[in-house]
């Protein structure tokens, strides 16, 4: 579980995050949603510590990352996996080398164990031997995301962060990635945090949802609560898409 308490972040005097508090649960896909530019990525990077929040507390199962020493942060990082918006695979390394990388850096495993673990992780995201020797530039965007997931879970993380896992993917591939993230989260009881502005993904895989608007927290709740909430910002965000207007109308008609 990760608890965020009253965090504030500004860049060059311009405040981006305004007093945000939220809770992200184990074994659940916790989503941070909101329009582009609302501060989702900044919030996520603050939680991981890539940006330093000016105020507040960020508790990883009770451990506050903001009051940790550098070495403690480093140790915590080994419990963290992250899937970046553009996959961020190392382009000088092959698919399997990318997954092996964190293992070689940090694990005490033997060479053979490492290779088995890497293969296992790649199989978990449905990538088999024939793709192992390819370079990131030789595979599709969806495959790159899958390799990135495999790399992120290589060291059995307790916390998984995904920044817009669907950006740049077609709807079918998006669905595959969303499902994968959800399955892995449940299987290994990971605290997963996903940034997204994609309504499909919210309906498909969101368990616990945090809505950010212009750097302010606008709403927090479960997926089922979305349609029953009368929160103004939430309504505006969700029903900006025509599809959901129809759904809402249908359920409204049914209720009549």
């Amino acid at each position: 579980m990760i608890e965020v308490r009253n965090i504030i972040k500004s860049f060059d005097g311009k405040q981006i995050l305004h007093d945000i508090s939220a809770t992200f649960y184990d074994g659940k896909v916790n989503q941070i949603i909101g329009p582009s530019g609302s501060g989702k990525t900044v919030l996520m990077k603050c939680v991981i510590g890539l940006h330093r929040a000016e105020k507040g507390e960020i508790l990883y199962d009770g451990r506050d990352i903001l009051s940790m020493q550098k070495n403690e942060v480093k140790r915590l990082r080994r419990e963290v996996g992250m899937l970046f918006q553009g996959a961020a695979l190392f382009d000088s390394q092959t698919v399997i080398e990318n997954v092996l990388f964190p293992l070689e850096m940090f694990s005490a495993m033997t060479k053979i164990e490492r290779e088995e673990r890497a293969k296992f992780c790649l199989e978990r995201v449905n990538l088999y031997e024939d793709k192992h020797k390819l370079y990131p530039s030789e595979i599709s965007g969806g495959m790159q995301k899958r390799v990135a997931i495999a790399r992120a879970i290589a060291l059995n993380p307790k916390y998984l962060f995904c920044d817009e896992p669907n950006s740049g993917l077609d709807p079918v591939t998006s669905l595959v990635i969303d499902k994968l993230i959800k399955e892995i989260t449940q299987e290994y009881n990971i605290t997963t945090i996903v940034n997204t502005h994609d309504m499909n993904s919210i309906m498909e895989s969101g368990d616990h949802i945090l809505l950010i608007r212009e750097g302010h927290k606008a709403w927090e709740g479960s997926r089922n609560e979305i349609f029953n909430s009368d929160n103004q910002s939430l309504q505006e965000f969700v029903f900006a898409s025509d599809l959901f207007k129809t759904i809402k109308m249908n359920s409204f008609n049914k209720n009549l």
Partner: protein
């Protein structure tokens, strides 16, 4: 700041040192052809120029070999070669690190708890610096060979005259001087270019800007360093 982070104790020493030969190949051996071509051609051209333009009864013919040798040892094999390398290697380093920055690969390293500056920059600096003596030797050797070629295949100067010039009043320390200079310059190229690449921010344009900055700033810094080192070592 960045240098501090670059030269600290790595998370996994073996993994970082494993990158050194990789970078040495990428930055060093891949520059051999460029250095070779330019050294030979400049050796040929300078020999011809000196022979053709110093018709003076007071200057003995062997001056040509002597001039070529000293030009190569004192400036060409270090300063001029490194200015060329700044263009090739500097922009290569800056654009590689810059694109790693903008595509979040550096963030990915940080997330894994790896000191990205140490992992990425240290091997580049070591790789280039360690390879510098080889490039200097190669550059000087091929330059003189070019001059020798002129002596052998044209009637401008005789081989005997040329070789006599090469050996006349030879100061071995010049070679040390040139290697030391090149090692410093290699350090400047790798570190300055890494700095601009590592801190690139924005999109593809930022990467381009980083590599231009890397070349310009490391060239200027090298020329300043040249004055300082010459002052320290030769006076």
């Amino acid at each position: 700041m960045l240098m501090g982070r670059t030269f600290t104790r790595p998370e996994n020493r073996k993994m970082v040192w494993k990158q050194v030969p990789v970078e040495m190949v990428k930055l060093g051996t891949d520059s051999i052809i460029l250095v070779a071509i330019i050294s030979i051609f400049m050796g040929v051209i300078m020999t011809m120029q000196v022979v053709l333009n110093t018709e003076n009864p007071l200057l003995p013919r062997y001056t040509t070999g002597l001039m070529l040798r000293d030009t190569y040892l004192l400036e060409f094999s270090s300063t001029i070669m490194c200015l060329l390398l700044a263009g090739k290697v500097g922009s290569n380093i800056a654009s590689e690190l810059g694109s790693m920055r903008v595509s979040e690969q550096i963030d990915a390293l940080e997330i894994m708890g790896i000191n990205s500056a140490n992992y990425l920059i240290f091997p580049k600096i070591m790789g280039l610096v360690l390879f510098m003596p080889v490039l200097v030797t190669l550059c000087t050797g091929l330059g003189l060979l070019g001059g020798m070629g002129v002596a052998k295949f044209t009637s401008l100067i005789t081989v005997d005259n040329f070789v006599y010039g090469l050996q006349y009043a030879f100061i071995p320390f010049y070679f040390t001087y040139s290697v030391v200079k090149a090692v410093f310059f290699g350090f400047i190229i790798a570190s300055v270019s890494s700095y601009y690449g590592y801190f690139a921010s924005g999109g593809a344009i930022a990467v381009g800007k980083a590599s231009t900055n890397a070349v310009v700033k490391s060239s200027i810094l090298m020329l300043l360093m040249d004055i300082v080192l010459t002052d320290i070592m030769l006076t």
